[in-house]
């Protein structure tokens, strides 16, 4: 390849700049707001923060349960943010774990053991994405009630995986289908049982794909807001997104934005750490021998 002329480089560079700004700006904007005092929020420049403060974040956690003052004549309620945080961690970690286990098993079955019609099983599972979610929550609520999981975090552990499982099953089964069998067979000959071969050989060598599926599951689950707010009613039982929706935005805007970042930052960090693995895993799953 000949060196590219300067104008091509400049073009590429400016496109990169545009893309980066396009992707980052909205998040930057929210982050900036969460670092502002109420004063600056109303009167300052919306794009920058001159006196960054963590007071919004601190306030989030100062929720001993009682009201904490008045704005004008309105009572500012307080929110059990720590409970929400804990719930969120439980629900997210649990749902991702359930998703991974369930999809790994199914993916192995479809990609490796290939029961008759495995292709149609896989398609059927994937086709569950066409289900219209619009008013599904009405019967879904009935299911949850009949499982005695009303207002229980476990309800989300049943419902959330359904959002990610179809895609993850697809990824895993495509991956196992493409993966040469010899490595696993070699382990069998060496003295491993099927189970041992799966845990000692197949799983460790499939780490990127597990990461890819896990990140997809996390991203998908973390984007739900509707189900959480419908299925978790008790104020102490909410996840952060569901809880934020109950805030009096008119009064607590900055607090809410801080809450957004509180949840988002750990998720983003996890995603960032595994970002390379995510791409590598998707590649490995979709392309044989990659």
């Amino acid at each position: 390849m000949s060196p590219r002329p300067w104008w091509r480089k400049l073009g590429h560079g400016s496109l990169l700049l545009v893309a980066t700004v396009y992707c980052v700006f909205p998040i930057y904007f929210m982050l900036v707001q969460s670092l502002k005092t109420a004063q600056e929020d109303v009167f300052g420049n919306p794009l920058i923060v001159l006196n960054p403060t963590f007071e919004n974040f601190e306030e989030l956690f100062q929720q001993s349960g009682e009201s904490h003052g008045y704005v004008g004549r309105a009572l500012r309620r307080s929110y059990p943010v720590l409970d929400w945080l804990e719930n969120t961690i439980i629900v997210f970690a649990g749902s991702v774990a359930v998703t991974l286990v369930v999809s790994l098993l199914a993916g192995y079955a479809l990609g490796r053991l290939r029961p008759p019609g495995f292709r149609w099983w896989r398609r059927l599972i994937f086709a569950s994405y066409v289900v219209p979610h619009t008013i599904l929550f009405v019967p879904l609520y009935q299911v949850i009630v009949s499982l005695n999981l009303e207002n229980n975090l476990l309800a989300l552990l049943v419902v959330y995986p359904t959002l990610a499982v179809p895609f993850c099953v697809w990824i895993f089964s495509a991956y196992f289908q493409n993966l040469p069998r010899a490595v696993e067979e070699s382990a069998l000959v060496e003295g491993a049982s099927r189970l041992t071969a799966f845990f000692r050989i197949l799983l460790p060598m499939s780490k990127p794909v597990v990461v890819a599926a896990g990140i997809f599951a996390l991203g998908t689950i973390a984007s739900d807001f509707t189900l959480a707010s419908i299925l978790l009613l008790d104020a102490h039982n909410k996840t952060i997104p569901a809880g934020l929706a109950t805030m009096e935005v008119a009064l607590d805007e900055l607090l809410a934005v801080a809450g957004i970042n509180l949840m988002a930052i750990p998720v983003v960090l996890i995603c960032a750490v595994f970002a390379r693995g995510y791409v590598r895993g998707l590649t490995a799953a979709m392309v044989e021998g990659a």
Binding site: P46, L113, F167
Partner: protein, 292 residues
């Protein structure tokens, strides 16, 4: 390694996934299908009766339905196309190594990684600030202008659409990058020797090689097109009145208590999505591989 035993094991391993999908999806969908054939409503004083295809028949005569359907199709097609185009652009930008690529890569990953459940709230509040802030006057003017041009609720609708595109293009960009990584660089180099026109190369080499990824991306874009809208709808308790099938169904069910028609309404799209999916399956099904 008895084949029969393998098959039994396969069904055993499939069971948890199927069970999960059955409880959390199959029953609700069954309920919805059944309900769409009845006049079920919490405000009924008479027992629910079976009405056959009445709900569907009534819908097909309702101009509001057709408008919502048109909006829905236009919305899904438009957002998916834009997401795909932007995503492909982002992926191609990152295709070749350059200094700082890791950072740009993370930046592009960010919109999707940033949890939509909360970012959509932030986005919505930012675009329709509930209290006076430094930028709320500007936003108010925007809203006024857009609503004035497109009708009430348009601004909220447009803003959520933009959010959906913003986030979706990030997902598709990263997804297609995974596809591009799988293409051996020799192929691109070979193509560069074959044809001088970058445009032809793009259509003759890049697109066919990425076909399975593109097909999967199209489908995921279509099915997730309405997720953010639903989120905002919940958040604002239905303040977005711009009619698409989903919101219209909510409206009928929650405000009108008409579960039958609402179910019928929300089911109308499923067959079309299914049809699209079956066309796309052929492009991204993993090929049958003979073992060596």
């Amino acid at each position: 390694m008895g084949r029969a035993r393998d098959i039994r094991l396969a069904y055993l391993l499939l069971a948890p996934a199927l069970l999960l999908l059955l409880t959390a999806l199959a029953y609700p969908v069954g309920w919805e299908v059944w309900t769409s054939l009845t006049d079920l409503s919490p405000v009924n004083d008479h027992p629910t009766s079976f009405v056959g295809l009445d709900n569907y028949r009534r819908l097909s005569g309702d101009p509001a339905f057709w408008r919502a359907a048109a909006n829905t199709v236009a919305y899904a097609a438009l957002t998916s196309a834009v997401k795909l185009a932007l995503g492909l652009g982002l992926a191609l930008l990152l295709a070749r190594p350059f200094r700082g690529r890791a950072l740009v890569f993370l930046a592009i990953f960010l919109p999707w990684a940033y949890p939509a459940s909360v970012s959509v709230i932030g986005w919505y509040w930012t675009l329709s600030p509930p209290i006076p802030t430094a930028y709320s006057v500007f936003m108010g003017n925007m809203k006024y202008a857009v609503d004035g041009a497109l009708g009430g609720g348009a601004w909220a609708f447009v803003s959520v659409t933009l959010f959906n595109i913003w986030r979706g293009s990030s997902f598709i960009g990263i997804f297609l990058l995974a596809g591009i990584n799988a293409v051996p660089p020799e192929l691109f180099e070979c193509a560069a020797l074959e044809s001088k026109s970058a445009w032809r190369r793009f259509w003759l080499v890049t697109v066919p090689l990425l076909k399975p990824f593109l097909a999967l991306a199209v489908f995921l874009a279509l099915t997730t097109a309405f997720a953010d809208l639903a989120n905002v709808w919940m958040l604002t308790a239905g303040r977005i009145v711009y009619p698409v099938l989903g919101t219209h169904a909510y409206w009928l069910a929650i405000h009108g208590g008409q579960f039958g028609p609402a179910s019928a309404l929300s089911l109308t799209l499923a067959p079309f999505l299914l049809a699209v999916l079956f066309v796309l399956f052929r492009m991204f099904d993993p090929p049958d591989q003979e073992r060596a």
